[in-house]
Amino acid sequence: MSVSYLEAIREAQAHLLREDKRVFIYGQDISGNFGGAFKATKGLAAEFPGRVLNTPISEDAMVGTAIGAALEGMRPIVEMQFADFSSIALNQILNNAGTQYWRTNIPCPITVRLPSGGTKGSGPFHSQSMEGIYAHYPGLIVMTPATVEDAYTMLIDAVAIDDPVIYCEHKYLYYHLKADELPKNRLPIGQARVVRPGRDLSIVTYSVMVHEALAAAEELRADGFEVDVVDLRTVKPLDTDTVLASVARTGRLLCVGESFPWGGVTAEVIARVATEGFHLLDAAPARLNAKDTPIPYHPNLWSEHRPNENSIAKKARQILAE
């Protein structure tokens, strides 16, 4: 048996609906036989009647409704059809969910699932990575699972956490990534994972870029370099300790993210290493992001717009040559 990243998300939701009566799923086109634009809820409406609910195309109201339900003790999961459309719900997520606990002392346990990131041919409005925006605002936890195992366990953890969670699931990984079975163990939320130990360079990344970084690391190994690859898993909280420990081993840092380059997660990682680990560095820390343009539709342009194995390896060589 094998299970894909997408199936892990569906299985996690099935598990949650089965185990926790407070859970319901709220989103566009997720109910009935259709089961969502990406089939992340396929079959769940029939198995859990009344708990997988279609909504109007009202991203703002979807999240607002989830907030109200959470305040009444429920554990709603909101599915955005694409992460890009969550911009319409920014007000509810940032200003209502994100401030609720701080202002009223009452936690707001909603989980918002964002089908994130680029795939070939998706273009400017169906490819975005929004984690940097959500991490910038206080009051939210932002998860970016990179593996089938994390997709499953982190979604279950997201719903259990008493605070709002933005769960960024990567669309490219939905079908491309498979594991033999659902995981039996879990790594706690808030801990990054060293996916590949190394001595010469730390590549700190998350979500789909973990896989591009691993491929680049393999390429660099042929040149005699051992690259330490760190999967952040959650970008907020950011596991600075694991990042610093990695940089202490290698003295060099490359931070990779698929999102736009201005600010964001990669800049945050570098800022923290420069502040807390300047003395650990043998070379200036560097980062690699998508280009500072909207995301192009054509596959030839798209594959150059985002970081990939080749551009990561090239950037890594520059840092290693310093």
Binding site: T55, A61, M74, N96, R103
Partner: protein, 343 residues
């Protein structure tokens, strides 16, 4: 061109019998007026930081919004709802503590003035973004239904300004889609801050939108307490009984600035002579005297009682410690182990 989109009231005070809870409502209105005058005076004395926002002129509508809700119901008040909040059960001390920044208030100095709330007691804490509380109320009602609760209703208020946001549209629609027991009371006080109706909307009356959303709609004279109680009480009752969502549009004039920092000099002189520009509290007191519902001594006693309550709340809050930045728990999430630590 001045556009006054309100309709005249349907009931005629002095002829029909007053609502049976008329005097109770009057006392909430009176307490509100006294409290808000006190807050204004504290603000002008430099004792309140930030702002003071009052509901002068809207006390009748607001009181009616709070009075028909009970334990288990959900109320999401807005900027001009002191009377409704008090009628729903919010202690005066919560108000004083929030305005005066006591660390013991429900907001503990983290948010001020009209943003206060106690979600667990059914009173949601508004955010400033208008229309945002509508779907939140819908969510609480959806959850109650899922949990098997019965006999509940949710009510939120808004102004004619807030009626124009996209969030309000999404929220009103989703309430109807979910079929939850929901009441939206929109008060057209004729100014969105300084902008008059003709730059806000062009339909004859905002209540005309009700059928388009699948709501039942009523409009009323917001200066007429009896009508407020009749119409809003009726809307709450219909929603609670399983009727469709209810839209009530009340017509008033904001008899104050947007906040106490605002002198409202932009309010046109001619609008002050309109029927909806009357002071609902003054109208109610005159009605009580005319009808002999309470004698002068009783009215004076009510005023004295309210003043004493207000003074006690204010002096209690004033004696309490202010929050201290060095002692503050600077975590925006409840799961402390997941607080991001940035050096």
């Amino acid at each position: 061109m001045l556009q006054t989109a309100g309709r005249k009231g349907t009931s005629t005070p002095g002829k029909a019998a007053p609502h049976k809870r008329y005097l109770e409502a009057f006392r909430w209105m009176l307490q509100t007026r006294i409290f808000e005058e006190k807050l204004t005076s504290l603000y002008r004395g430099g004792l309140i930081t930030g702002g003071v926002y009052v509901g002068r002129g809207q006390e009748a509508v607001s009181a009616a919004c709070g009075m028909f809700l009970k334990k288990g119901d959900v109320f999401a008040p807005l900027i001009r709802d002191q009377a409704g909040r008090a009628a729903f059960g919010e202690p005066l001390l919560d108000v004083a503590r929030t305005y005066l920044g006591s660390r013991q208030g429900p907001m503990r100095g983290r948010d001020g003035n009209i943003h206060r709330g106690r979600p667990r007691a059914g009173q949601l804490a508004m955010i400033s973004h208008l229309g945002a509380m509508i779907p939140v109320v819908v969510g609480t009602l959806l959850a109650k239904r899922m949990k098997g609760e019965k006999d509940f209703v949710g009510l939120t208020t808004i102004g004619e300004g807030g009626m124009q946001t996209g969030a309000t549209h999404e929220g009103m629609n989703i309430a109807a889609v979910e079929g939850v027991p929901f009441v939206l009371v929109a008060t057209n006080n004729h100014y969105a801050y300084s902008t008059p109706n003709d730059r806000e909307f062009v339909c004859a009356d905002l209540v005309d939108r009700a059928p388009a959303y699948g709501y039942e709609g009523r409009s009323l004279d917001g200066t007429d307490l009896s009508e407020c109680l009749d119409v809003i009480g009726g809307a709450v009752e219909r929603a609670r009984a399983g009727g469709p969502p209810q839209l009530v549009v009340a017509s008033t004039l904001r008899l104050a600035g947007h906040g106490e920092h605002d002198d409202a000099s932009y309010v046109a002189a001619e609008i002050k002579g309109e029927d909806f520009a009357r002071d609902s509290l003054q109208r109610a007191e005159e009605f009580i005297k005319e009808e002999g519902l309470a004698d002068a001594d009783t009215l004076a006693q009510w005023r004295a009682d309210a003043t004493a309550q207000v003074n006690e709340a204010v002096s209690t809050a004033q004696e309490e410690a202010a929050p201290d930045g060095n002692e503050e728990d600077w975590s925006a999430i409840s799961t402390r182990t997941l607080t991001d630590r940035i050096s």
